[in-house]
């Protein structure tokens, strides 16, 4: 019995390896904010959504399969949460009632298996009931297949058979056992003393006043004594206990699988509701096959940023264009980094089958997303800053394939502007020729200007908007790089304020 809600034809693999640049992506795109919003403190959800978001799909059909299921979820949130609560209830029951098969004694294994199975049966009935009541409200291929499987496999005949077994295995008339003597009637290596055999009987020695002694007794409830008796019974029921325990394990993993398959949708629902609450735009993106498609978006936001400030944030628009290189320049604190994150997040969200934080988003599927951000001084001290940046860049190049995307944020600024521009220029030119898309936030004027002068139709230049009075709008507008970043404004603002005081 398979749920197949993440893929049409296979299970979601929790062991699947994350991309090599997992840490960079999470850090640079502030993905932990996104993950935490999806998981809402649930560690398991966190694990699954992290896996799902970072291990991107590359096939538009697979993406649409998930999108359809997620749309069903958004339409029927309470039903979906009810299904998800079944595996959770199983875990809760196990913990609450101390269910589990840990014992080294067959009698205990049998007992715990019976209790576990009885509990499972109740939950399976509940699942059937949900399917009976709600299946018609679901339109996606994934959910329709899922519900028809439940109805077929968990029919009334199945339930009556299981109940009959569980009754019989309680052995109301006792266990009949035959046995032989084996070896090992001696205990471990206790050091044994032979009592001194003095003249006279045992009773005489006890009452003898010479030998002072003190005795103690254990309570009849002490389990040690009772154990001996149950051992015989254990041998008889060993094999049936094993069979039953294995069955319990099978159902247990069915619930576990169900939980895994639904977790991504639970996380997406959580995120959907939070974005709705702060009136952030949400829409299902249109994935395009690489090479054919174009990039376009409307009111595109960085979801992590919106979730952090907890209100609607400035979005950016782009009319359909075939973009290979985007260079973003302009004022500090003008929304450049946020924009870069919004591009990266949207790409990842699209390629895991989720919605994006935009009124509309459409992009080519990429074969890999990479980020190259300026980092804090390397505390391992073994390399200088530029060296460290280039080392990271080299690792990225090792993993790049055509149709990948690289997001640069103030890269190669660790050296002077002239040399930084030279390095950046060589790298970007090579990447473009290899069909790698580049989004580059930079202060390197010489670098940005070199590309601006080429006036290639696949290149786009954006600038953080700054009104004549110096106020930032956090919106990006089309515009070629300018040669200052308004540092003088800030200097005057901060250092002159001091004099006024």
């Amino acid at each position: 019995m398979k749920a197949h809600l993440m893929y049409k034809d296979r299970d979601f693999d929790l062991q699947k390896e994350l991309p090599v640049n997992e840490e960079e992506l999470i850090q640079d795109l502030e993905l932990n904010t996104l993950f935490n919003a999806m998981a809402l403190g649930d560690e398991f959800l966190l694990e699954v959504v992290k896996k799902a978001v970072l291990t991107s799909l590359n096939d538009p059909d697979e993406i649409r399969y998930r999108q359809d299921i997620l749309k069903d979820c958004i339409k029927n949130p309470s039903t979906v949460r009810e299904i998800y609560s079944i595996p959770l209830e199983s875990i809760k029951n196990k913990r609450k009632r101390w269910l589990g098969i840990f014992s080294r004694y067959p009698g205990a294994i049998l007992d715990s298996s019976i209790r576990m199975l009885s509990m499972f049966v109740e939950l399976l009935k509940k699942l059937r009931h949900i399917a009976d009541e709600n299946a018609d409200n679901f339109k996606s291929e994934g959910f329709r297949t899922f519900f028809s499987m439940i109805k077929k496999e968990l029919d009334d005949k199945f339930f009556s058979l299981v109940e009959a077994h569980l009754k019989r295995l309680n052995f109301p008339d006792g266990v009949l056992v035959s046995a032989e003597l084996g070896r090992g009637n001696e205990g471990t290596n206790y050091v044994l003393r032979k009592p001194n055999e003095k003249n006279g009987s045992w009773i005489k020695r006890i009452i003898s006043p010479k030998q002072l002694s003190y005795s103690f007794y254990i309570s009849p409830r002490d389990e040690h004594g009772a154990e001996a008796l149950s051992e015989l019974r254990d041998r008889g029921i060993n094999s049936v206990a094993n069979a039953l325990a294995q069955s319990a394990d099978h159902i247990d993993s069915f619930f576990e699988m169900l939980k895994v398959e639904l977790a991504f949708y639970m996380g997406s629902l959580n995120l959907y509701e939070q974005l709705n609450q702060i009136s952030a735009p949400v829409s299902f993106p249109v994935p395009l096959i690489p090479g054919k498609g174009k990039l376009s978006f409307k009111q595109l936001c960085d979801p992590s940023f919106a979730l952090t400030v907890k209100h609607k944030v400035v979005g950016n628009n782009l009319e359909e264009a075939s973009i290979r290189l985007m260079i973003i320049t302009g004022a500090n604190q003008g929304g450049k980094s946020t924009f870069l994150r919004s591009i990266g997040s949207a790409q990842l969200m699209m390629q895991c089958g989720m919605f994006t934080a935009a009124e509309a988003f459409s992009a080519e599927i990429c074969s890999g997303l990479f980020t190259h951000y300026k980092r804090e001084e390397d505390t391992a001290m073994e390399s200088g800053k530029l060296d460290e940046e280039l080392k990271r860049m080299s690792t990225i190049v090792d993993n790049l394939r055509p149709d990948s995307i690289v997001l640069f944020n103030e890269s190669f600024a660790a050296t002077n502007e002239r040399e930084g521009s030279e390095i950046a220029g060589q790298i970007v030119n090579a990447l473009l020729e290899k069909n790698v898309k580049v989004f580059f936030v930079t202060h390197l004027y010489a670098f940005a200007n070199e590309f601006a002068e080429k006036e290639h139709s696949n290149n786009l230049f954006l600038r953080a908007q700054r009104k004549p009075d110096g106020v930032r709008t956090f919106k990006l507008i089309k515009g070629e790089p300018l040669q200052t970043s308004y540092g003088e404004d800030l200097y005057q603002g901060i250092f002159k304020a001091e004099k006024r005081v």
Binding site: L192, N196, S213, L390, E422, I423, K434, I494
Partner: protein, 556 residues
């Protein structure tokens, strides 16, 4: 859980009495191995008054348990982490977080560390410390235990160890060659303590009780519903008897059927019951044990336990630098001044980096620096990955370590006693902070300039590198001028060559490369004019990131 010295968690071992020398008055009563005794002369050693009057040259600052702000930038956090690793129970970090502000206390400490460095006393103190650690573990254990006699058994073990530790240390100190004021007065204190009547009586009682308990021996007869305890009656080992009976059947080696039972300290209710009954068989010994532990509940001496903790400040540092010295590197006792800004250090190095390199058997490069006349600011330029940041850290570390009264890396050093160190190293962007990075930098630098005085040290690393060259130059120039106006000492690491010759207060230092191979750095920072050469592209080549290399590397 090991007990710690943290003052907020009073433990049996440290909330105790202090031995009071009787009769004769001593010239320098022992106060602390870390600080001289400014207050003890005036104040009688009664209860510590809550608010001690602050004399102008107060030396004992309150212990802060927070690292100074500049610690991570200078990698001093790594240094202190390595020094104190494995010594958590002493809570030594606060000692390293509190720099000194007067020259004489620095000398007080230098004297002590000279007495310990490379002398038999070092090992003597270490073995004292080990006994004290064990003693505290036993006491903690005893505290946690539930059953009366079990508890007191561990308590007695602790007391016994304490007696040995203190007696041995007193003996060791009496034969050691001591020149420092601190250790001389401690020696006098501990000898007075050991020879006191109270301590002699305590030792005697402890040893007697241990011997008595060694004579207890009993047997238990276990049944299904209980057991019976008697004194040991010379019953024979039955196992040996049975083995003898069947010895004739023995053929060769046989399988071992022994089940490995878990071992460890602890006692269940049955074992406890048996012990209780055994104790009834030896009533005198056990009643002695009870009254012993009541009477001696707080047997440790406050000053000795304080010494045990504080001396670890020196011991831990010496252990740490010993590892570095093994690679042939030197440490020296710096000359520290609070008015002379002509400073110098020769064959010095970044201690945190050296530690890392030495334990991996890698070479360490040493550097020299000095200021003359009105020179104040080292402006460090030159190729990246050439040791510029390391130089900035070295400068800061050196001054800080000297201000703790510790030996510093180098053959010879003359350093300035600062009132504060300020650092500004490039920080990563943080989404939670909605102000732009440049603004942050400026606000932070503004803050530094407001707090800094002529006695401060200011270290800035690659500031304004995220803005345009034009902006960067404008801002850096203005900032540097302000620092020079303050007359503070400092280091500025930058790629803007123009800054290195701004005025007579700047000293230009340049990181260097091997002339015949520009990709190879020497890590030498030399005093010479900035030469405008950076070697960025050579590193790009090294990582195969030039246009041609990348095109080759990305496969369709």
């Amino acid at each position: 859980m090991p007990i710690t010295f943290n003052q907020t968690i009073p433990t049996k071992a440290f909330s105790n009495q202090e031995y009071q020398p009787r009769g004769e008055t001593r010239p320098i009563p022992f106060r602390s191995i870390l600080y001289k005794t400014p207050k003890s002369q005036e104040e009688p050693e009664t209860k510590a008054t809550p608010k001690a009057p602050k004399t102008p040259n107060t030396i004992e600052k309150p212990e802060t348990s927070n690292a100074p702000e500049f610690f991570p930038d200078l990698n001093l956090d790594q240094i202190v982490d390595n020094i104190t690793a494995g010594k958590e129970e002493y809570n030594l970090k606060p000692f390293f977080y509190n720099s000194l502000s007067d020259i004489d206390t620095i000398k007080y400490r230098q004297e002590i560390i000279k007495d310990i460095d490379n002398t038999p006393l070092f090992q003597n103190i270490k073995s004292f410390a080990e006994k004290m650690i064990k003693m505290r573990r036993y006491l903690t254990l005893a505290d946690k235990l539930y059953y009366k006699y079990h508890k007191e058994g561990w308590f007695l073990e602790a007391a016994d160890l304490y007696c040995d530790a203190v007696t041995n240390l007193a003996e060791d100190l009496s034969t050691a060659e001591i020149n420092s004021r601190g250790l001389m007065s401690f020696r006098e204190y501990i000898q007075g303590y050991v020879n006191s009547e109270e301590f002699s009586a305590f030792i005697k009682e402890t040893k007697k009780l241990k011997a008595d308990l060694g004579t207890v021996k009993y047997s238990v007869l276990l049944k299904t519903n209980g057991g019976r305890v008697t004194k040991y009656q010379e019953e024979k080992d039955y196992t040996i008897e049975v083995e003898k009976t069947f010895e004739k059947f023995k053929q060769g080696a046989v399988k071992d059927y022994t089940v490995k039972l878990p071992t460890g300290t602890g006692m269940n209710h049955i074992e406890a019951k048996i012990l209780e009954l055994a104790a009834r068989l030896y009533p005198d010994i056990f009643s002695n044990l009870i009254s012993y532990s009541l009477k001696n509940a707080n047997f440790t001496d406050k000053k000795i336990t304080a010494f045990d903790r504080e001396i670890q400040f020196y011991i831990s540092y010496l252990e740490y630098i010993t590892i570095i010295k093994r690679a042939g590197l030197q440490f020296c006792y710096p000359q520290v001044s609070d008015n002379d800004k002509e400073i110098s250090a020769f064959e010095t190095f970044d201690t945190a980096l050296a530690y890392k390199l030495v334990i991996r058997d890698l070479p360490v490069v040493c550097n020299d620096f000095y200021t003359k006349g009105e020179e104040r600011i080292f402006v460090v330029t030159g190729p990246n990955q050439g040791g510029k940041t390391t130089f900035a850290r070295t400068f800061g570390q050196l001054h800080y370590l000297a201000s703790l009264g510790l030996p510093v890396p180098g053959r010879e050093a003359k350093l300035f006693l600062f009132d504060n160190i300020f650092t500004h190293f490039e920080k990563e962007e943080d989404i939670k902070n909605l102000r732009g990075k440049l603004q942050d930098d400026l606000v932070r630098i503004h803050d530094i300039l407001k707090k800094a005085t002529q006695d401060s040290i200011i270290i800035m690393n690659e500031i304004f590198s995220s803005t345009t060259l034009k902006d960067g130059l404008f801002l850096s120039r203005n900032i540097l001028k302000r620092i020079m106006k303050l007359d503070s000492l400092g280091v500025l690491v930058t790629f803007m060559d123009e800054l290195s010759s701004l005025s007579g207060k700047t000293v230009s230092m340049v990181s260097t490369v091997v002339p015949e191979n520009p990709t190879q750095r020497t890590y030498k920072i030399v005093r010479k004019p900035a030469d405008g050469l950076a070697y960025a592209l050579s590193i790009a080549e090294k990582y195969r990131l030039t246009y041609d290399s990348i095109k080759e590397r990305i496969k369709i």
